[in-house]
Symmetry: C2
Subunit: 197 residues, 2 copies
Amino acid sequence: MSLEHAILGLLNEHPRSGYDLKTRCFDETLRRFWSADQAQIYRTLDRLQATKSVTSRRRKQAGRPDRKLFEITQSGREILGRWLSDQHAIPAQRDPFLLQLYFGSHCPDELLVTLLAAQRAQHQTRLDDLRGLSAQLAAESHTSDRSSVLRQTAFDGAIARERASIDWLDECIEAAKDGVLPGSEDPGIGQRHLFGT
Amino acid sequence: MSLEHAILGLLNEHPRSGYDLKTRCFDETLRRFWSADQAQIYRTLDRLQATKSVTSRRRKQAGRPDRKLFEITQSGREILGRWLSDQHAIPAQRDPFLLQLYFGSHCPDELLVTLLAAQRAQHQTRLDDLRGLSAQLAAESHTSDRSSVLRQTAFDGAIARERASIDWLDECIEAAKDGVLPGSEDPGIGQRHLFGT
DNA sequence: AAGTGATATATGATTCGTCTAGTATATGCG
DNA sequence: CGCATATACTAGACGAATCATATATCACTT
């Protein structure tokens, strides 16, 4: 459901085309909080139009294909307003790597360190990206209006989570390197071959 | 994809029924890392059976409906082993509340504090749950074998993330209560009515 | 003239995830 | 006896999400 509201939020600033939403909004910024596929965006726009939350009109452009400009309606604005006032459930943690640890009792130490380091690198990349974009937005807006401060706050939340993951992974890597982990007991039938190759 | 591997991981310990996977494994423990619906579990079992990763046989029970016991095959074990050795992409952050902040420039301070507090409460509940279960598992296993330590590690990761969210939210709540946030500038046409009611 | 790339939209296929409801057996409680 | 509850599985519908593919215009290059 949130994708609908993200799009309404963007169209509430000013009318945009599907292409614009994808390349200018989601890919450049919003994907840090909610990523969206191009196909998904166009289909969601269709649905929003069917429910009269947005309207569209074709716009001719010089030297480029036509654009379909979407504009939020009063009804759409009411939906957005309600959603912005609602309390939302926090999303479930769903992370393949935590599963991997959970079932990883027969994973040898070296592989474990490799996997931990790979996770760390990915979180670090994301952290760098968040910090970079956050700094860029801070520099651009300059005047610290409410909107900018709240957006910075959203980035701070995302950043805090990435930092927590990195700190935890660092502790894990230290522990694994120091050989603090107990060895695996007798694997038993079947489990023996999980890490055979 | 991960649900398949979570189920293979569970069946690798010993054969189980769909009902068992749902109530004993996912609901009691695994949902902290990967939640799954009952319908989803049965369908995934069907698919795993179709690809010969698991086999099934009916088991009569005294005083209860029959169970369909699923057992992992050698092929399934190989798939699991490969997955456990693979490097997995970290999941995208996707959080409605971060979107809400991003678009919340016209949200009045009191509502903002309410929403922040609601998020905090949910994260606290989840943190308590994680800590409780983690402690329980630690108490049960007692001998610190490799498997228990790795499972504790997974819990630690989930716990670290929840703590990070709570700390960040606490800072936000402080800031909002102290009236540190700038007021919203002139809303402009349309945006005025977002928080009208 | 042909190819590449950016702009712009649309559609099909498939899987994942949630919700809902239905079927059936047996136990225990009042 | 009826009813709730636990056990155990099946099925339908729908939205969310991803991937691939198709179409079209125009600018710029080779």
